[in-house]
Amino acid sequence: MESFFGRYRDLVVLLAILLAQVIGLAVQVRHTAGGQNSFDPQDESGVRLIRLWANSIVSPPERLIHGAKLGSGSLWLDYLDLRHVRQQNQDLQKTIDRLRLEQAALLEDARQGQRLQALVAFQQKYIYKTVAAQAIGSSGSDQSRVFYIDKGANYKLARDMAVITPDGIVGKIRDVFPNSAQVLAIDDQTSGAGVILETTRTRGILRGNALGQPQIVGILADNRIQPGEKVLTAGGDLIFPRGLPVGVVEKVARDPERENFIDVIVKPAAHLDRLDEVLVITATAPSFSSQQQQDLTDSESLMGAEAAAIKEQKKASEIMAERLPGLKDPNAPVVNPAANPGSAQPGQNPPPPPIPELGQPKMLHPQHPDRFTPGTAAEIPTDTSAAPTPDAPDAKPDPKQANPQQSPPRRNP
């Protein structure tokens, strides 16, 4: 027996190591109800411990390298390459001032939209709080498209939080360590994000293929889907808020495994290969920061002042209209078309209903009347429909009707 182990010692050690790893693999794989195997999404304590150790060993050198890279870059950018910076600062400050005003107006619209959505119980998620993080490393394997960021549980990051850039979505947090977190990118084969095509409104699931390209799978063949169409998040996966940019359709290919299905290859909006800074969405509950609240208050005060000015202007015009002489004789008899239906010309609309005298302002009798004075019977036009009314003070009389001598002759039917 001893000679057997001595003779085949190398092979025995090899088999023992392989067997131990195979048993460990068997523990980590689950057989799903759909008849397929998959990784256990929640690592067991032993596996998680190994990951934690590996991360603890690799992260500090990665931070060092990343910091050195940033430091050398910032030395040039921050201290040497400063041409035109002052002018750029002034331009940017103007842009900030303008954008703050625009943002205040948009916040008002957003708040109104939220109120309306709350009314219809529409569960829309909004991005209100993000944490900026630096991508410091990766798994090193093209079969596992995960990367590490330099923020973790200490910054209240948690599993399944969405990771984005200003350009588009990047992935979701898969595992969290004290000072770092592992992010599963959208181009990994095991990722899944609910997306929707902007024009055709076709929904699908986005995941990566063997070449590391995000693709939408499980879509029935549709000729309307063309390259260049925008792809947005659908919001149904409860990870990515709805409406975030994902990318554009790069090409449409047939699904090699299923007939009548297509794979839509997507060119991601975010530069997944060259990520430096990302944003982790840590809160989607509606809330405004103090700065946003201040902007909102400023917006409301600005809007209030503007509304007051408009109201004051309207009031002045009303006063002016009241002071101008009216062309309607308050003493003239009221014409009731209902009482004299034959007065309406056939083919013409009936004259407007008489204005009730209740509520009409009583005009003072002039001390020195002339031919322009209201109440002079010879100058009163017969048609009262064009006379300004208290309900429409801005209405102007039709000059043709005000001067019946210039109106074209009517034809009798």
Binding site: R9, D10, V13, L14, I17, L18, Q21, V22, G24, L25, Q28, V29, Q36, N37, S38, F39, D40, V47, I50, R51, W53, A54, N55, I57, V58, P61, E62, I65, H66, A135, I136, G137, S138, S139, G140, S141, D142, Q143, S144, V146, F147, Y148, R174, D175, Q182, L184, D188, Q189, T190, N209, A210, L211, G212, D273, R274, L275
Partner: protein, 173 residues
């Protein structure tokens, strides 16, 4: 030709290094493998842990050390990924064993031999990975053979440059 003179190699060409080299070089390989793809993007066609496993396995007198080193490097790589721990471990365990077994039989100082060995063992590593993933575990995995081919070529080129540099760290009698 001394390429197949196993006894000659067993007696004279056992490579020894300071302990610091055994610790830092694999660690540097793992860190660079994790960091460089962030810089190079999808053109990171290399697998530094395979190269380092092959290098140290070739210089040892028994396959056991190469096997253990391959297992450790593979498990470490798996721990940094989101896959099950052991897939790369199995692949690199086999690579370490094969490299050490071959290294006791041929002259690994020859650059051409090193290049060919790295190329073949890189392909073996990729094939073992796919075998464990798809056959042993029954998981879905899309893969392309030319990616593995490019990776094997990249490993071979790196080995040609890196091995002479690492040879300078040996303890000479």
């Amino acid at each position: 030709m001394s390429v197949l003179d196993a006894n000659f190699r067993r007696e004279l060409e056992v490579h020894r290094y300071p302990m610091l080299v055994y610790a830092l070089v694999p660690l540097a390989a793992l860190v660079l493998q994790a960091w460089l793809p962030r810089v190079l993007g999808r053109y990171a066609w290399f697998d530094l842990p395979v190269v380092i496993t092959v290098y140290f396995a070739l210089g040892r007198p028994t396959p056991i050390q190469g096997t253990i080193m391959g297992a450790a490097m593979g498990i470490f790589e798996d721990a940094l990924s989101h896959h099950a721990i052991g897939i790369n471990g199995v692949a690199k365990t086999v690579v370490g064993f094969l490299a050490a077994s071959v290294g006791t039989r041929i002259d690994v100082e020859n650059h051409t031999i090193r290049l060919i060995l790295n190329f073949i063992l890189s392909l073996v590593s990729g094939a073992m990975y796919v075998f464990v993933y798809r056959i042993l575990l029954g998981l879905d995995l899309e893969w392309t053979w030319f990616t593995e081919l490019f990776k094997a070529i990249g490993n071979s080129v790196i080995a040609v440059v890196l091995f002479p540099a690492l040879d300078r760290l040996q303890i000479r009698d």
